[in-house]
């Protein structure tokens, strides 16, 4: 691993750093040991982040969807599981769901945990592809790792990991386009895969458009070349309508956000002071901006527009902080590189191969480790399953929202009153659920409407207490912070 960054001729790059041509006198050579040590440290950090039990609330219903599709389910239509749903369920994350379910069928839960670990390794590699283009190995690794920390809130075993990888690829490709003004047509089929994997596909298209508009503002494009470059994001948008879900996929992000922005925590606006990931991301952006404002050169619009996009997505909602971190990664790397007062050296093929080997080794090592660590899920009350199994099939369960995915997966014979796919329920219905959960006036109306005979609730919740004290529900079992109750 000693040659991740070794001596090479300077990049054939028109960009200069602080007016100096790349590779001129005064260039400080990076020791080959330091990049190797930092690379291995990064790989170890990735393994640490990636190997843990399956514990994301959403992972379970994604497995359920994968199973549903592999057994002949339709990509869109009335919801097959929840009778209280009033809106159709659009399967806009079908590809990773199918892959994860197949992995689960073959190898059990460790396969899901391993897939997450691999996705994190790939995300870091994609980030490094962005940052290494504008910085030497060490600053590139540091900023890629910082960006990965910025995405830490979204590194669960969910399809959104695919979005983060794709976005990093889009950012890296758009950056290269900004330098050579050549379109990257391969982004179009890539976006098709993205659109089949997760709903954040539009962020990549947005990045592509922003860069083209920024280049136009910088007067680096003719009308013809601008139109040609714009064809890439527009073509990508068009292929999003060609997934098995059909053209309705284009509207899916808005449909999801209708309910989610109001009721789902990760869709709430980012409270920066209490969000470490947001702080990390803003520090990355601030580093880039500070470099720009203290520089005697004008910052090009395309870079400014990327920085603005990073700030907006970081502050918009917790869900999009990782988007901000990914967009900010090359900006911060570029700023860090400018402290060296030299242009970055282009990575050689050998160092790329070594990195690929290192990642491959990590992925292989992760197999036996996840098999040990991830046999049992985390954050779910597995010990209550025996009690839940006694409930008659078709019983309606007044459930804690966070457990609905697990309930759908583990106890498919039961019916949750509300599940994590908030977008398939009406706003009034979600309001009524919340009123019930908070035991506010009229809370019993929701019970009258849904007629639950069982409840699976947090033991310390007001609604658990109210059901017991006022309606005399019977607690059957309490474990791992949750209680199962039965109606009298």
């Amino acid at each position: 691993m000693t040659s991740l960054d070794v001596d090479h001729p300077p990049m054939d790059n028109s960009e200069t750093v602080n007016g100096k041509p790349p590779g001129t006198d005064g260039r400080r050579r990076e020791s080959s040991r330091v990049p190797a040590i930092v690379s291995i440290a990064c790989a170890a950090a990735l393994m640490f982040l990636g190997i843990r039990p399956v514990s994301d609330d959403d992972a379970w219903w994604h497995l359920k969807v994968g199973e549903f599709l592999l057994h002949g389910g339709a990509f869109a239509g009335p919801d097959p599981w929840n009778p209280f749903a009033t809106r159709p369920f659009v399967l806009n994350q079908w590809l990773p769901e199918v892959v994860a379910f197949q992995g689960y069928e073959w190898f059990g839960l460790p396969a899901v945990a391993w897939l997450r670990c691999v996705a994190i390794l790939l995300l870091f590699t994609a980030l490094l592809w962005c940052t290494r283009h504008v910085a030497d190995t060490v600053p590139a690794l540091i900023t890629a790792l910082a960006a990965l920390l910025g995405t830490a809130g979204g590194l669960g075993e969910r399809p959104q990991l695919v979005s983060f990888i794709m976005l990093a690829v889009w950012v890296g490709a758009s950056w290269r386009t900004a330098e050579d003004l050549r379109p990257r047509w391969w982004l179009i089929p890539l976006t098709w895969v993205w659109a089949s994997s997760h709903g954040l596909w539009f962020t990549g298209i947005g990045v592509g458009m922003l860069v083209v508009v920024g280049l136009a503002l910088d007067r680096r494009l003719t009308l013809r070349s601008a139109a040609r470059l714009m064809l890439v994001p527009l073509g990508s948008l068009a292929v999003c309508a060609l997934t098995p879900v059909g053209p309705r996929l284009l509207l899916a992000p808005f449909e999801v956000s209708q309910n989610a922005t109001e009721y789902v925590q990760e869709w709430q606006a980012t409270p920066v002071r209490t969000s470490v990931v947001a702080m990390v991301t803003l520090v990355l952006i601030a580093g880039a901006v500070l470099g720009w404002i203290r520089s005697p050169e004008k910052t090009p619009w395309w870079k400014l527009s990327l920085a603005i996009a990073a700030v907006v997505t970081t502050l918009a909602m917790l869900h999009t902080v990782p988007v901000g971190a990914i967009i900010a990664a090359p900006l911060a790397a570029s700023a860090l590189q400018s402290l060296r007062r030299t242009a970055p050296r282009r990575p050689e093929h050998r160092s790329r191969r070594l990195w690929a080997l290192l990642i491959l080794a990590c992925a292989i090592i992760a197999i036996p480790v996840t098999a040990v660590v991830a046999q049992h899920p985390g954050n779910v009350p597995e010990r209550l399953r025996a009690t839940l199994d006694t409930a008659p099939a078709g019983s309606v369960v007044l459930n804690d929202h966070s457990l609905s995915g697990w309930l759908l997966w583990r106890e498919p014979q039961l019916v949750s009153v509300l599940d994590l796919r908030t977008e398939i329920f009406s706003k009034d219905y979600v309001e009524a659920y919340l009123r019930n959960a908070q035991v506010r006036p009229g809370w019993k109306d929701f019970l009258a409407e849904t007629k639950p005979t069982y409840a699976l609730l947090r033991s310390e919740s007001p609604i658990r207490l109210a059901l017991q004290e006022e309606l005399h529900w019977v607690p059957l079992q309490t474990a791992q912070g949750f209680t199962v109750l039965r109606a009298p």
Binding site: Q268, A269, T270, P271, V272, R273, T274, S275, L282, V289, L290, W292, I293, R294, S295, P296, E297, K298, T299, L304, I308, V311, L315, A316, Q438, V439, R440, P441, W443, E460, S461, P462, L465, A466, E469, E470
Partner: protein, 508 residues
């Protein structure tokens, strides 16, 4: 408004804080576009100059009118009632200590960080009622606008300065309530203006020391003024504009101000008050929670900051470190918590003005005495107009159950009341003989007690225990609250009145 015609007449160019080169650049660039005859921007400059006075007059009238309209409205904040009660109590000879005279479950003595406006507020209320408080708020907003303009006008010409001051006022909107924090914003704008002047002549403004003493008697944000001073002084040092001796001289101003804050009637313990209040409030009080971009004021303030940053990034000149320091301070305040967004807007105001000025094709000039008098006259007219407006619009406060006051006063003295946090200030004011189990002075309570209170309000597992332990026999609760529902449905309490969304409940 003919008197306002003189707001921007020709005057000597502003000195160092407004870069002359940048202004020349704007004009020269424009002239380069049309080589023959007069340039397009040159024509525009002439037109703006011709009509400049008119534009400034119209802008000033609009801004002062809008500020007046913003200011004259009924009392709607939950806090002024607490301050009125404190003013009344102090003027009647009362003093706070331990045990607390009002709250049976207070664990610490209450530190009077806002005694001066509390007394002024009470005296005003005593003479003019609720409209008097509304008028005071309006006066505060207009004073803040004037202080902001005094600051921004140093960094820019009249149009940019007034525009930036008004945008900052919008960014500070959530802080423009009938509370002592309005004074903090005014003092902050003045302190900022003073330090901006210091960056020009490097002379210390010693008058900031007594100003900080008054500030420390009025509100707990006096520490921010000291911070601004320290940031500017250190920034000037980073800019290599002065030696150690000068830096020491400048830093003596915030240090002496700190000492002055320790000499108010509250004594040296005032120096620690911001931290003791913050330690409880950060966990439990809404306005101490992190700000988010779902709040319009945060968006306005971040747009101010973003505008300055983009202007700097797109400019060939580098901003001074002291300016960078101020912008970073503003950004941190904007994102830290809801209540500091207003602070951020005030700090960003002169920076915004300066960058707006750089976009305008005309020179920034110093304001004439006539222009200054015109502004004062306009503000005085607005204050006079606000008096009858306040009398008409602000007779009845909003958000408090005034129709329950008579019932509350009939309840035996010393009765313990569990009440929604926001209404406790009004409860202390309208029924001073009752004892709330928790009130707005959150810093006097033990954090574990506050946690139990919050859990009880949510009808969590310990709600019965909390009610029993506190001995509350009366409740004044939001009618949509879980505790009101639990008390009625599960404990048999009955509602004896309701008003403004609040229920008055009594134990059976």
């Amino acid at each position: 408004m003919p008197i306002l015609v003189a707001v921007t007449l020709n005057h000597p160019r502003l000195d160092s804080s407004t870069p002359a080169d940048a202004e020349h650049e704007v004009i020269a660039h424009g002239q380069g576009e049309l080589p023959s005859g007069k340039s397009r921007s040159g024509v525009f400059v002439d037109r703006v100059h011709d009509r400049g006075s008119l534009i400034v007059s119209a802008l000033a009238v609009f801004v002062v009118s809008a500020a007046t309209v913003l200011g004259v409205r009924p009392i709607g904040d939950p806090s002024p009632w607490l301050h009125l009660r404190i003013g009344q109590y102090l003027l009647a000879g009362g003093r706070f200590g331990y045990p607390d005279p009002w709250a049976p479950f207070a664990a610490k003595p209450y530190v009077l960080t806002e005694w001066l406006p509390a007394i002024v507020g009470y005296l005003t209320y005593n003479k003019f009622g609720a409209p008097g408080i509304a008028w005071l708020r309006c006066a505060g907003i207009l004073t803040l606008l004037t202080a902001l303009t005094w600051t921004t006008r140093r960094a820019a010409g009249a149009i940019a300065a007034i525009t930036a001051a008004f945008v900052a006022l919008l960014g500070a909107y959530d802080g423009l309530t009938e509370r002592p924090q309005m004074l903090s914003l005014i003092f902050l704008a003045i302190t900022l203006g003073a330090w901006w002047r210091t960056t020009e002549d490097l002379r210390p403004r010693w008058w900031l020391v007594p100003v900080t003493w008054v500030w420390a008697c009025s509100h707990g944000l006096w520490l921010v003024g000291l911070g601004v001073g320290a940031v500017v002084a250190c920034g000037l040092a980073c800019d290599n504009r002065m030696g150690r001796r000068q830096l020491r001289n400048l830093l003596l101003v915030p240090l002496a101000s700190l000492a002055a804050a320790g000499l108010t009637p509250v004594g040296p313990k005032l120096l620690l008050a911001p931290f003791t209040v913050g330690s409880n409030a950060r966990d439990f009080v809404g306005e101490w929670q992190p700000s988010t971009i779902h709040q319009p004021v945060t968006v306005v303030t971040l747009l101010m900051i973003g505008f300055v940053l983009i202007a700097w990034a797109r400019s060939a000149r580098s901003p001074h470190w002291w300016q960078v320091g101020l912008l970073v301070t503003s950004l941190v305040c904007a994102l830290a918590m809801v209540r500091t967004v207003a602070v951020a807007a005030v700090i960003a105001a002169p920076l915004l003005a300066q960058e707006l000025q750089n976009l305008l094709p005309m020179r920034a000039t110093r304001p004439s005495r006539l222009a200054q008098l015109s502004w004062v006259g306009l503000t005085a007219v607005a204050l006079v107009v606000a008096a009858p407006m306040a009398g008409a619009l602000a007779q009845n406060p909003n958000g408090v159950p005034v129709h329950l006051a008579a019932q509350l006063r009939q309840i035996p003295s010393g009765t313990r009341v569990v009440a929604t946090g926001d209404v406790t200030g009004w409860l202390l004011w309208s029924a001073p003989d009752l004892k709330p189990v928790e009130d707005l002075r959150i810093e006097v309570y033990d954090p574990s007690y506050v946690r139990r209170y919050i859990e009880a309000m949510a009808a969590g597992p310990a709600w019965r225990g909390f009610i029993q332990e506190t001995g509350a026999t009366v409740a004044l609760l939001d009618e949509d609250s879980p505790l009101a529902t639990a008390l009625r449905e599960r404990a048999g309490w009955h509602a004896v009145g309701s008003d403004a969304g609040y229920l008055l409940l009594r134990r059976p």
